[in-house]
Symmetry: C2
Subunit: 182 residues, 2 copies
């Protein structure tokens, strides 16, 4: 039996990934779960608390998925492919962009602690990719390439959602990996 708090977070993540932080209300989430909006404040005193919990859960889940997908990868090409697949899963399974992609766009309108948590997700993304790239490459180049990869995947999620065509993501990701020639 799923706990109320989990149902609330599921509803909130789904809504925020579709419409953004400011377009999600406590009442809507309460209705989704079948409780009153005041009860949502029992779990998340303020909206920012909910946002933080969501980003932390999302980030943990993302890196857990990434570990699974990259477990048997050894070459840089395989590791980057695993990273792209983890992003792809976010789009295909949920038909939504990345939670942090949405909140990252809204950065300037978010409470500071929340936008910081989102930035940390991206830092961790870039770090992971940077370490996956060929060891011989200069670290500043690896960093730039990692930023390029994360940017491309985030942008591709947004673009595919706006154009309502998942293939846009697949083509952009494929074109990127072909260019990279790892």
């Amino acid at each position: 039996m799923t706990e109320t708090v989990d149902l609330l977070m599921d509803a909130a993540e789904s809504a925020m990934r579709q419409r953004g932080y400011h377009a999600v209300s406590f009442r809507e989430l309460a209705d989704d779960v079948g409780i009153k909006s005041a009860s949502v404040h029992y779990y998340f005193p303020q909206k920012e608390d909910l946002g933080l919990a969501l980003v932390r859960r999302y980030s943990a889940q993302f890196f857990a998925d990434l570990e699974v997908r990259s477990a048997r990868a050894v070459t840089p090409a395989d590791l980057i492919a695993a990273f792209c697949d983890t992003y792809r899963q976010a789009l295909i399974q949920a038909d939504k962009i990345c939670l942090c992609g949405m909140l990252g766009a809204e950065t300037c309108g978010l409470p500071l602690e929340l936008s910081t948590a989102v930035a940390e997700f991206f830092d961790a993304n870039i770090d992971w990719v940077s370490k996956a790239l060929p060891k011989g490459t200069k670290s500043s180049v690896r960093r730039a390439k990692a930023e390029q990869i994360v940017a491309t995947l985030q942008g591709a999620l947004m673009l595919a959602t706006s154009l309502r065509n998942h293939k846009v993501f697949d083509r952009a990701a494929k074109a990127m990996t072909l260019d990279m020639a790892l």
Copy 2:
């Protein structure tokens, strides 16, 4: 003397590019311009009308800028560089992401006509880049590469804003063009 409607659109574009569609109110825009919120409805009966006007103006301005920047470009490399520069300007001059990048992320929470206008901006972006790429390349490959380029630039705007570091955009764009080897 700048017209009220232009001041309103400037304030609205700035606010929406920072915080998103739903975090912008008529009252706030009215205050910025020094009129009452009811008067905003004189120019934009509904919020959707404002959003549409903003996207149309933004798109027109973007392609006008792009024409200027690409006027003397002939090689694919120069044309793509002009495209990247036009994106870069959006970030550097205004310290904000692209209006359509923000609204594209919020697609599922927007009135249909508005999300359609945003998608048309991206279609036009992809078309332009596709035509700028080397003529010899197969058109399906050009399309995929164009989607990759637009995705990378949009993602890089978001990433640089979230990480509060413009150099992230520059490095990602540079890494992309180096990979492309046009």
